[in-house]
């Protein structure tokens, strides 16, 4: 296992050390005292375990494909943005835009997520043990977004085929968002997934499912009123 201590060193030096450890064949790296620096662990493509012991700043674990990254503190804006595959686990809370535009993999937030969680996701799974803020799930195209606590305003606005699940209250639904009952398959998937990541979470059958009402998928001028409202 490689240990990297950030101390007063620059982000560039720390990331270079991570690269060096990867090149040397290390498959487990611990980064101490990250001090909420930005841009840590971006673009990692190896199936490696990296643990940031503390908080990270903006864009941590963005553009990754394959690694398993754990953050023991909280994360700033743009966590795991555009990840392809792998796992990112935050023990604390996340800033705005966590898991934005991911195509695969799993993003796990044990605390709360701020605004614009999982916007425009194209696959993968986003799991939040706490609550999420404004405009979560906006324009989600595929994948699943699960919030065990409450969801903020404009939830699941303008969705395509992302399935969203909320265990608590939804402050307000976004345009074209529709609540429906989860299917038995959904409930089974929620139960097994949540048992793995959040053992204390509500049971799958307690969740509301939110999907697209499909009114915005095709433009039809007879539905001009719907569009006026949406825009």
């Amino acid at each position: 296992m490689a240990e990297i201590t950030c101390g007063s060193r620059s982000t560039r030096e720390i990331n270079a050390d991570i690269r060096k450890a990867l090149a040397a064949g290390e498959r487990e790296i611990i980064v101490r005292e990250p001090g909420a620096r930005h841009n840590l662990g971006v673009g990692i493509l190896e199936p490696v375990r990296i643990r940031f012991a503390g908080s990270v700043g903006y864009y941590c674990a963005g553009l990754i494909d394959g690694p398993s990254i754990e953050i023991t503190g909280s994360a700033g804006w743009g966590l795991a943005e555009s990840m392809m595959s792998g796992e990112v686990v935050v023990r604390g809370s996340s800033g705005n835009g966590a898991a934005a535009a991911i195509r695969g993999g799993t993003v796990v937030i044990h605390g709360d997520a701020a605004a614009r969680l999982g916007v425009s996701i194209k696959g993968g799974t986003v799991l939040v043990a706490g609550s999420c803020g404004y405009m979560a799930g906006f324009m989600g195209q595929k994948g699943r977004l699960v919030v065990c606590g409450d969801a903020g305003d404009a939830f699941a606005d303008s969705l395509y085929e992302t399935a969203c699940f909320v265990g608590g209250r939804i402050q307000g639904l976004g345009t074209d968002a529709v609540v429906e009952a989860p299917t038995p398959e959904d409930i089974a998937w929620l139960d097994s997934t949540l048992a793995e990541y959040f053992p204390g979470a509500p049971r799958g059958k307690q969740f509301q499912k939110v999907v697209a009402g499909r009114k915005l998928w095709n433009f039809d001028k007879r539905e001009w009123k719907v569009w006026q409202e949406a825009l």
Binding site: G35, A36, S74, G76, S93, N96, A115, R116, Y134
Partner: protein, 301 residues
């Protein structure tokens, strides 16, 4: 961009306020290289007000300080005059008409501006980095209970001392704000206030936040209520901190367009644009979270 910070010590004993706020600001220097400033609430002066006057933007500051000192010699109940670099500072007795005194000072010289008045508030700001602010004014030595800080990246108005933040609400002692974002109905609000005779000292849209909050507080609103009303009346993007003699508060705009994180422990409250500001100035174990959309919080003493 821009970086804002706020620190509130829960203890009544004056803390190393200047050192903490400066430490937080240093971490946000890269967000705002144009200017840096602090609004610090120190020990009160037995009912007197501290006035801080901008002497000018660079030329013949010593001459201007002498000019102000001569004027104050003839004034009643003004004492403890001193000057450092671009600022003069003195105390005025609590029963003086401060508006009249401030406008008399400002009419002495076109460069003069009363930057802050308060029982405890002192604003120190200038162009350049937090490091420069420390070099010129030894901010880290100032003790107090709570304060604000700002690093500025100018996007809409000129870069000079007056356009830097924090802003004092002219005419309203002990009220200061810092703002990160843009107030998009600024021109409309500015016209409305100017028609009522309120003077704007700068073309910086953040100044209107200070004027707006002072108006709300004058109408009898508490700071919490005033910040909530801001969500209705001010458009655009804003993470904004406000401080009075006994309170620190923040508001985040209805689209959550600007960052703001916070932490609260048994000893202090710290709020900042980025977590790195809190972590680099305040050691210890605590958790930090992003403020939610439309969130308003106020900590009273």
């Amino acid at each position: 961009m821009c970086g804002i910070v706020g620190f509130f010590a829960k203890s009544r004993e004056p803390a190393e306020l200047g050192r903490t706020v400066l430490g937080m600001l240093r971490a946000l220097g890269c967000r705002g290289p144009d200017s840096a400033g602090v609004a610090l609430f120190g020990a009160p002066h037995d009912g007197s007000f501290a006035l801080r006057v901008k002497l000018g933007e660079g030329a013949d500051l010593e001459g201007k300080a002498r000019k102000l000192a001569r004027f104050l010699e003839a004034e009643q109940r003004c004492s403890h005059f001193s000057s450092t670099a671009a600022y003069a500072r003195f105390l005025a007795a609590g029963d003086r008409d401060l508006d009249r005194l401030a406008s008399a000072i400002e009419s002495l010289d076109r460069d003069f501006e009363v930057v802050s008045i308060g029982h405890r508030l002192e604003i120190i700001k200038q162009t350049g980095s937090p490091e420069n602010l420390e070099k010129t004014y030894c901010v880290s030595e100032i003790r107090g209970t709570h304060g604000l800080g700002h690093t500025r990246l100018s996007t809409e108005s000129r870069v000079d001392l007056s356009h830097s933040q924090p802003f004092w609400s002219h005419g309203f002692p002990d009220l200061a704000i810092v703002h990160n974002g843009h107030i998009t109905n600024y021109h409309q609000l500015r016209r409305r206030y100017q028609q009522r005779g309120i003077r704007f000292y700068t073309e910086n849209d953040s100044e209107v936040v200070a004027i707006y909050l002072a108006e709300q507080l004058r109408k009898g609103a508490g700071l919490h209520q005033a910040l909530e009303r801001m969500l209705h009346d001010l458009d655009g993007s804003y993470s904004c901190l406000a401080a009075t003699e006994h309170q620190l508060g923040f508001v985040k705009d209805p689209f959550a367009l600007k960052p703001l994180v916070m932490t609260e422990t048994d000893d202090f409250v710290a709020v900042a644009t980025e977590e790195i500001a809190i972590r680099s100035a305040l050691p210890g174990t605590y958790s930090v979270r992003e403020a939610q959309v439309k969130e308003v919080r106020v900590w009273p003493r």
